[in-house]
């Protein structure tokens, strides 16, 4: 296998919560990301899925240096981007770009679309003349399905779906190597979500940009990803090719997620899996395997010892003590 575009090894991002009142006790460290490793090949889409508070967004924010990492490394073509100084990292920012969830918050309301899209070109010195910049902006707006004539307008004149298209244009205008998309369609209506997902997929195919696609929605992740990583409380519990993970989910948490997702099928009513308990907080993770209080297959060992990540096949792996003892995945109804 060729060297991956991005290799993340044992990444940890811990937050030190402040005192809640002067001279009060320090709150415990919140281990939002606690030992995450994965690789993204050039041109590949890795879907990172998990529930709120599992640390999936923090992974994305750490890789774009919006949060400082605690330890671990993230090698972009062999170069550790977490160790670079801010000045040394700046030229790389154009190569690692981020799409955020809320297109109402991520676009500057005072700038026209042209100004919004010209800014990255200027900062990364990709256009020398205003004419050249404008031509590039028109080209990118066409790519995301907007009329180039709209570049004189302001964000409030656009709907949510159109704003997300503009956010995508702002990212793609830099021809990045890696795009981190953090819940890019979660704020959109169902009918618009499909349009934007199709657009992201089409642009990804055309430009073969690598992508870390962060989402809580299994259907969305299945649609967009080549490979999937499932996160629970700061750790990756299962990774594998999309087809493998969805057809033969190995980790009990992946199975629970799949079974809990409602399907548009009235015949399924009342046949949903019963989840035990609620997600624990990353501020006070349970000992041993952090999923054990909710796991129907938990044994004594799970309460004491955190499971190591073990390969099931070439590129499908899972962090569970009882993988061998788990019942086989029933045929998907």
């Amino acid at each position: 296998m060729t060297a991956p575009l991005l290799a993340v090894r044992n990444l940890k991002t811990h937050f030190r919560a402040g005192r809640s009142w002067p001279f009060g006790p320090r709150a415990a460290t919140l281990k939002a990301v606690d030992g995450v490793s994965f690789e993204i090949q050039a041109g590949e889409v890795l879907g990172l899925v998990g529930e709120s508070g599992c640390g999936k967004s923090t992974v994305g924010r750490t890789l774009t240096r919006l949060e400082p990492s605690t330890s671990g490394e993230a090698l972009l073509e062999g170069q550790d981007i977490l160790q670079l100084s801010q000045a040394a990292f700046r030229p790389l920012r154009g190569q690692i770009q981020m799409i955020f969830q809320d297109p109402f918050a991520s676009l500057n309301p005072r700038l026209t679309i042209e100004q919004t899209l010209a800014e990255p070109l200027r900062i990364h010195r990709l256009a020398t003349t205003a004419k050249e910049a404008r031509a590039r902006i028109a080209e990118i707006l066409t790519l995301v399905g907007l009329d180039p004539k709209v570049m004189t307008r302001h964000p409030h004149q656009f709907s949510g779906g159109q704003r997300q298209r503009i956010a995508i244009a702002r990212v793609m205008i830099l021809s990045p190597r890696l795009v981190i998309a953090d819940e890019p369609v979660s704020a959109l209506d169902v009918s618009i979500q499909a349009q934007v997902l199709n657009l992201i997929k089409e642009i990804q195919r055309k430009s073969s940009v690598a992508m870390l696609f962060i989402s809580h929605d299994l259907g969305v992740v299945r649609h967009i990803s080549d490979r999937v990583a499932v996160m629970y409380l700061g750790r990756i519990v299962e990774t594998g090719p999309k087809a493998e993970v969805f057809a033969r989910p190995s980790h009990p948490y992946t199975r629970l997620l799949l079974e809990s997702t409602p399907r548009p099928d009235p015949a399924r009513a009342g046949r949903r899996a019963k989840a035990l308990g609620e997600p624990a907080s990353a501020a006070a993770p349970p000992p041993g395997c952090s999923f054990h209080p909710r796991c129907p297959f938990a044994t004594e060992r799970c309460r004491i010892e955190a499971p190591a990540y073990a390969a099931l096949s070439d590129n499908h792996g899972s962090a569970c003590h009882n993988i061998a003892a788990l019942p086989g995945k029933q045929a998907n109804e």
């Binding site: 009918s191 997902l197 299994l218 969805f246 809990s260 409602p262 949903r272 899996a273 609620e278 909710r294």
Partner: protein, 324 residues
């Protein structure tokens, strides 16, 4: 007689002197013990419809401009405010999407449940506290007696929604309106809350109106479904009938555009265009600019309802015929 009967309900928003219609000619019935799902995208009027039934539009820019809401034989839109308040929270109750903003952050949850009980039942504070602990046990909150002393911020999102449900069912309502009750929750917690609602409904026989944008949640929870688009019910049917054979192009488009967790496809069949803003006037059928089957007639003439077997009603000039 149906427990709740909404007939030709119209709601308008006041905006700069003009009245913009946001809900038009909405009619449905809910029988005791049954669940009606109302599904639609943002701005389709599904939440306003539920607020109108609850009587929560008073004093806002939004007002009911026509139609009737009959609940247990009484016409609610004509009732004086004091009588509506006696029904609200007692015979009909509502839970909302965001339990953190619905609960008062500076009161203990026990006090908030006691307030509901004392408002509608002549109960001593002590008896009300005992009943509140029972209610928390009923919604499966562990250690209910101790939990009464908690503040909302000390609970997780799922637990807060359980508290909201406990408050809603405190007076044994015959109708529960749930407006996106699980949208703010994770899928595993969502499954628990939906199961809890179904159990409570089976136990108490209350009717439920569930409002959601999520066709999956609606499909797994409701017996009858109304699909709303731009202020109108464009299709209504039994859950089985609707999902087996959707007849309105919007319904089938919506179903097709959901990414499937059980199958792969290259391109999602998306609905073209965008969700209209409320100040846009669209002639004829409101869906025609986005409709793949639209003809010239759709832009001029508002469609009439077509009725099919098993109470399957469609508002479309060219409804899809069921596959043989």
């Amino acid at each position: 007689m149906a427990l709740l009967e909404v007939r030709n309900l119209c709601i308008a928003v006041g905006s700069g002197g003009a009245l913009l219609p946001v809900v038009e000619d909405v009619s449905f019935t809910v029988e005791a013990g049954r669940t009606l799902g109302i599904v639609g995208e943002s701005g389709c009027g599904k939440s306003l419809t539920s607020l109108a039934i609850m009587g929560l539009l008073e004093g806002s820019q939004v007002r009911i401009t026509g139609g009737e809401i009959r609940f247990a034989g009484r016409e609610l839109t004509k009732l004086p405010a004091a009588e509506r308040r006696a029904i609200m929270g007692d015979q009909m109750a509502m839970i909302f999407q965001e339990p953190m903003t619905s609960l008062n952050p500076v009161y203990r949850i026990g006090d908030q449940i006691v307030e509901v009980l004392r408002q509608h039942r002549s109960m001593s504070r002590r008896d009300a506290l005992v009943r509140a602990a029972e209610l928390l046990a009923l919604v499966r909150i562990p250690g209910p007696a101790e939990r009464l002393k908690s503040y909302p911020h000390q609970l997780s999102g799922g637990m807060r929604q359980r508290v909201m449900i406990a408050m809603a069912i405190a007076c044994d309502p015959s109708l529960l309106i749930a407006d996106e009750p699980t949208t703010a929750l994770d899928v595993t917690v969502q499954a628990q809350i939906l199961d809890l609602l179904a159990d409570l409904q089976a136990r108490t026989g209350m009717a439920v109106v569930l409002i959601s944008h999520d066709l999956g949640v609606i499909a797994e929870t409701c017996q009858t479904i109304a699909v709303m688009y731009r202020g109108r019910i464009v299709e209504s049917a039994s859950a089985a009938g609707l999902f087996a054979a959707p007849r309105h192009p919007y319904t089938s488009g919506l179903m097709a555009s959901i990414p499937d967790a059980d199958a792969d496809c290259e391109t999602l069949p998306a609905i073209a265009g965008r969700v209209p803003r409320i100040d846009e006037r669209i002639g004829g059928c409101a869906f025609h600019p986005r409709c793949p089957r639209a003809a010239s007639r759709c832009a001029i003439e508002p469609p009439a309802t077509a009725t099919y077997p098993e109470d399957h009603v469609v508002l479309c000039h060219f409804p899809e015929e069921a596959a043989p």
